[in-house]
């Protein structure tokens, strides 16, 4: 029985990392829960409503996308479409080349990671610098983010200080305050030199065409204050119908992500800067990116596209807490990633077919999700899909079930097995000659075998 890949990652994770990931996800989760339930009378009703609004968006994208496009254009934005990752990268490059631009600053956008934009631009001689502190550190180290809200949850301050020293950002000092100040000084020069500010969008209102961006650090604000051109990479699922719906979603997003009432900077952008404003972009380009989303929309798992990237599901997930984000081998870790990553992988689905199994189906992710995504259901559907597709990874870590299937489909054999099973009560299981079973037995005790008694109980139970 091959071990699951995610178990291998978990086993390799140093104990102090595991403890750090565990502690900080647990703290965030507890603060989130306390805040939501303290401040709102009906948090679960809010989640259901937010889920309903996003589901409505998904199921009406055919009309909402052209509607928001028209609104954006009327507001003065230029709208582009990119069906694939390659097309999205090419669109960014085209916009930059048309302006003779060579430097880009990036405020956190998951889509840019999905399409591997940094790598692509580097090959064309364009520097794309991350400005979110955590993402910046990940970029310095040629590492990968391990959490969608807390990219360096897997790193400690000593490693960060060492890497700052290596990259000429000052002598070793692991005080988080010093680390932050050094990044502040370094990055503000970069913003001022950059030609283009690249962002994502947390939401786009169809009603007004406003792009909504949230950050705590103010890096999106700086990316839109110094450079003269703004490019927004937006997944086609990011729409919300009305401005007022943002009241629900912003309240839920900030609390679910970081236990805040509101994220520090919430920006509503409709176009290039005002004529009277000396700073900021003269051009706004919005690139709507598909990159596999329409396939997800066509699948039984379309509800995963409601996701607002709050990270609450990874904070609460017992598997994520043990394995950390790199174990998911994709841009989106945790429960959301276990669904979304294999789906977005397209032809590479088999390579990630084990992810839907990285769950005990405990349901905690569904319970915390601000848009009420039934993640465990979706995981089951994907497990089924993986098995049917015969993906070897979908079977790793699972005992062969052929004999079981045979037994369970023959009533006579089944009855005999139930009775015969009693023998287990008399077997010295501790001495079984099968090593995996012995290992299993070490930390568990088999309950007494009571096969067949359910039917007897059912026949003789007294009906009220």
């Amino acid at each position: 029985m091959a071990q699951q890949l995610i178990d291998q990652f978990a086993a390799r994770l140093p104990a102090d990392r595991r403890a750090a990931v565990y502690q900080s996800t647990k703290t965030t989760h507890e603060k989130r829960t306390a805040m939501l339930f303290d401040q709102f009378a009906e948090p679960h009703r809010l989640r259901a409503l937010a889920g309903g609004i996003k589901q409505h968006v998904l199921e009406n994208l055919d009309t909402l996308l052209p509607a928001v496009e028209a609104k954006l254009q009327a507001n003065g934005a230029q709208v582009h479409w990119a069906a694939t990752a390659e097309a999205a990268c090419a669109a960014v490059l085209r916009i930059m080349q048309a302006r003779g631009a060579t430097k880009l600053v990036k405020a956190k956008t998951m889509v840019s990671e999905e399409i591997a934009l940094e790598h692509f631009l580097a090959a064309h001689g364009i520097e794309a610098l991350e400005t979110d502190l955590g993402e910046f550190i990940v970029q310095l180290d040629h590492d990968r983010p391990s959490h969608i809200v807390r990219p360096i949850i897997h790193k400690n301050r000593r490693e960060i200080a060492q890497s700052f020293e290596r990259h000429g950002l000052g002598a070793y000092d692991d005080d988080p305050q010093t680390i932050t100040r050094r990044a502040r000084q370094f990055l503000r020069q970069k913003y001022l030199q950059a030609d283009v500010g690249l962002t994502g969008a947390n939401f786009v209102s169809v009603e007004s065409g406003r792009l909504v961006l949230v950050t705590n650090e103010g890096n999106s604000r700086f990316s839109l204050a110094a450079p003269k051109c703004h490019i927004a990479l937006v997944g086609i699922e990011k729409l919300v119908p009305r401005d007022r719906d943002l009241g629900l979603l912003l309240n839920l997003l900030a609390r679910s992500a970081t236990a805040q009432q509101l994220t520090v900077y919430t920006e509503f952008i409709t176009g290039p800067k005002a004529a009277t404003q000396p700073d900021g972009p003269e051009e706004l380009h919005v690139i709507f990116v598909d990159n596999g989303r329409t396939d997800v929309l066509a699948s039984e798992c379309r509800a995963i596209l409601r996701c607002i990237r709050c990270g609450a599901c990874m904070n609460v997930c017992p598997v994520y807490r043990q394995a950390s984000g790199h174990a998911y081998r994709s841009v989106y870790p945790g429960p959301v990633g276990a669904v979304l990553s294999p789906l977005l992988a397209g032809k590479k689905f088999p390579e990630l077919a084990d992810l839907p199994k990285a769950s005990s189906l405990c349901g905690a992710c569904h319970e915390v999700c601000p848009v009420d995504i039934p993640i465990p259901d979706l995981l089951l559907r994907l497990r089924d899909q993986g098995k049917r597709a015969g993906a070897p990874l979908a079977a790793a870590g699972t005992p062969p079930m052929g004999a079981w299937a045979l037994l369970a489909s023959q009533p006579a054999a089944w009855k005999a097995a139930l009775l015969g099973g009693k023998i287990i009560n008399y077997l010295p299981t501790k001495l079984l000659p099968v090593p995996p079973l012995r290992a299993w037995e070490k930390s568990r005790t088999l309950p007494e075998w009571r096969g067949g008694e359910f039917r007897r109980w059912l026949r003789h139970r007294t009906t009220p």
């Binding site: 055919d62 503000r188 009432q261």
Partner: protein, 203 residues
């Protein structure tokens, strides 16, 4: 590019075609997101100030208090919105250097930036800035201290009220306290890219 547009929209239509019915848009009552633990204070400023303090912001009601704060921390070089300058000129002591144009080649020469707010949200301690109302995006962001000048009648009760009155402006920004991060070991640090001190000055 137009072919990508067609491909995506055709893909979306094909994906949705098998659906027997589309999910309706739920309506919802904005009272549902009203924070129940915050009792409505009689004075919107008092409520706003309490919430701003809760997110480590600094509410002030007198220019003298502002000057004292700046003086105490030796933040004596700054920027002031030219439209507000006539009003504040007399308040700053002679040893302060205050400019009314923000020079982006010297961002670190400014300890503070003073600009106008377009509003505030009492429930969250949020300041509302607009592009037309802010004299310089950079001056409101790059200096260590940002002072937003606010009038009492500009304060909205809650997020829903502020959303219903979103100004017609290309860049509306809600600022809720100083810029912050908890990226390094979950430890809260203020003043990452934006201000480490966020002041709301009531006029």
């Amino acid at each position: 590019m137009s072919s990508d547009r067609d491909t995506i929209l055709a893909g979306v239509r094909a994906a949705l075609a098998p659906l027997a019915a589309r999910a309706p848009l739920p309506d919802w009552d904005r009272d549902l997101v009203r924070v129940r633990t915050l009792q409505p204070a009689a004075d919107p400023w008092a409520r706003f100030a309490a919430r701003l303090t809760a997110v480590n912001g600094t509410p002030l009601t007198a220019v003298a208090d502002l000057v004292a704060l700046l003086e105490k921390n030796q933040w004596r070089r700054g920027y002031c919105d030219p439209a507000l300058w006539p009003q504040f000129q007399g308040a700053f002591p002679a040893h302060f250097t205050v400019e009314t144009a923000f020079d982006r080649t010297r961002v670190d020469d400014y300890d503070f930036g003073l600009t106008a707010a377009a509003g505030a949200i009492a429930e969250t301690g949020t300041l509302i800035l607009t592009d037309r109302g802010t004299s310089s995006r950079l001056a409101a962001l790059a200096p260590w201290v940002h002072i937003a000048v606010l009038r009492r009648e500009q304060i909205y009760a809650d997020i829903s009220a502020a959303l219903a009155a979103l100004p017609d402006d290309p860049n509306v920004i809600w600022v809720t306290g100083p810029s912050k991060t908890a990226d390094v070991e979950g430890i809260l640090i203020e003043g990452v890219h934006g201000p480490g001190v966020q002041v709301a000055l009531l006029q």
